[in-house]
């Protein structure tokens, strides 16, 4: 685990998969906590649950900026540091957070969206009327690294997820320069059914074996 995250520098931008306790790369998060990189810019739906999930990195004061849709009531360490002015937050509507990452992975620099028109989220964004409806210009969101949790990976990096543990993981895998995966099972290349693969291996750079870390 240490090896997979050893080269992550201070100031890196990192995406983290996971939603509702499912699909978090908790082994990689713990590895990064031990590795100690600081001033990290993170992109994640939420900001941890106590010391669980991203909470560990907030507790260690390793994060300086966040893009999130739902920091969450359980994000104790994030809220303490946000209220103290130590962390910068960019709040994004959840579907727009997804689509900005998808655009980045797909080579699209920006796109128009109807979400947030007339709200605080529109502040600073270009607005344009297209076929009679108002839209905001949203920019693509990429990262240096994505930390991903998969159910099953082959050695080449093809991934299959399990139930709602899929969530943000496949999108983030496409949107980062380096995608690091922890998988519950790692199998021989050629044994996964190509029809079932959700993330093709081209999006994956490193794979490590996950070891039963879960936070309620």
């Amino acid at each position: 685990m240490g090896e997979a995250v050893a080269d992550i520098p201070d100031g890196a931008t990192i995406m983290f998969g996971g939603f509702g306790g499912a699909g978090f790369p908790n082994n990689l998060i713990q590895g990064l906590a031990r590795q100690g990189a600081r001033n990290l810019k993170v992109i994640s739906n939420n900001c941890g649950a106590g010391e669980g999930e991203l909470g560990l990195l907030f507790r260690n004061h390793q994060i300086s900026r966040v893009v999130a849709a739902f920091p969450g009531p359980g994000a104790k360490y994030f809220h303490e540091q946000f209220d103290a002015g130590e962390i910068e937050l960019e709040l994004a509507p959840q579907g727009i957070l997804c689509e900005r990452m998808r655009a980045s992975g797909a080579g699209i620099p920006a796109f128009y969206s109807p979400v947030g028109v007339g709200t605080d989220i529109a502040s600073g964004k270009e607005e344009r009327v297209i076929r009679g409806r108002r839209y905001l210009l949203e920019s693509a969101l990429g990262a240096d690294y994505a930390f991903i949790k998969a159910h099953r990976a082959d050695h080449l990096g093809n991934l299959i997820y399990r139930k709602t543990a899929r969530n943000f993981n496949p999108i983030m895998a496409t949107a980062a320069n380096t995608t690091i995966v922890e998988a519950e099972e790692i199998v021989e290349t050629g044994t996964l059914d190509p029809e079932m693969i959700v993330t093709p291996s081209i999006f994956v750079d490193r794979i490590v074996q996950a070891r039963g870390v879960r936070f309620g």
Partner: protein, 228 residues
């Protein structure tokens, strides 16, 4: 007769009557989260969860939880036949893209134009949480708000203009409360049903903008619960 408003469960029960058989539906936090329990047994609703489920069933029984199968509130759930899993971006292709038949959210305020405020109290400390509410409100084919008619301090939650930060503008189609069913139409707010024991004038008194109503607004209807 004392005028007793509907309970949260009764608001949920009335709202469930708006769901046609086979509809794909997203339920938000608060009163909307109670609605699934009131869907009549003879119809099937495909509940959508923005973390990647269409065809979500009831909560998992104790001992049968799978923590890789949770709803948007982190609660372990089950599936119904025909369910599917997908990623969060596909889940929001469904919300923003107008593919869901009905979305039902809670609200802090709704304006007479159908503007919705449901994510943040003005001046509140802290970061605020948007989640999927903005995407859902903008994209819903039909957006229903299920909420209490007035705030805890008695102030109206149906207002001329929202003073709370907005979730989306001109998005609400119907408001179902502990006093009434109100449709948001081009001509304004139209009172469709009034809770038992109340008059249209009573409802107007608890509502800031002017309501449109005829002399014979029907009583708010229930299918299964006994009337008080």
């Amino acid at each position: 007769m004392a005028k007793i408003r509907l309970t949260r469960e009764q608001i949920a029960e009335r709202t469930a009557l708006e769901l046609p058989d086979g509809a794909c539906v997203n339920l938000g936090w608060g009163i909307p989260n109670l609605i699934a329990a009131f869907v009549p047994a003879d119809i099937t609703i495909y509940f959508h969860s923005e973390n990647g489920i269409l065809g979500m069933g009831p909560r998992a029984k104790p001992g049968e939880e799978d923590f890789d199968l949770v709803d948007a509130m982190k609660v372990p759930v089950t599936l119904i036949p025909g369910a599917s899993f997908f990623s969060q971006d596909d889940a929001h292709v469904m919300t923003r893209g107008g593919h869901l038949d009905i979305c039902i959210l809670g609200a802090m305020q709704v304006s007479e134009k159908g503007d919705l405020a449901n994510w943040r109290v003005p001046g509140a400390k802290g970061a605020g949480n948007i989640g999927g509410a903005m995407d859902i409100s903008v994209g819903a084919k039909r957006l229903i708000i299920a909420m209490e008619h007035n705030a805890k301090d008695g102030s109206p939650k149906i207002v001329r203009r929202c003073s709370y930060p907005l979730t989306a503008i001109e998005c609400v189609n119907t408001i179902i409360t502990d006093l009434a069913v109100i449709d948001v139409l081009p001509e304004g707010l139209v009172l469709r049903e009034v809770a038992p024991g109340f008059t249209s004038e009573d409802v107007q008194q608890f509502t800031e903008p002017t309501l449109h109503y005829s002399n014979t607004v029907p009583e708010l209807s229930f299918r299964t619960l006994s009337r008080r």
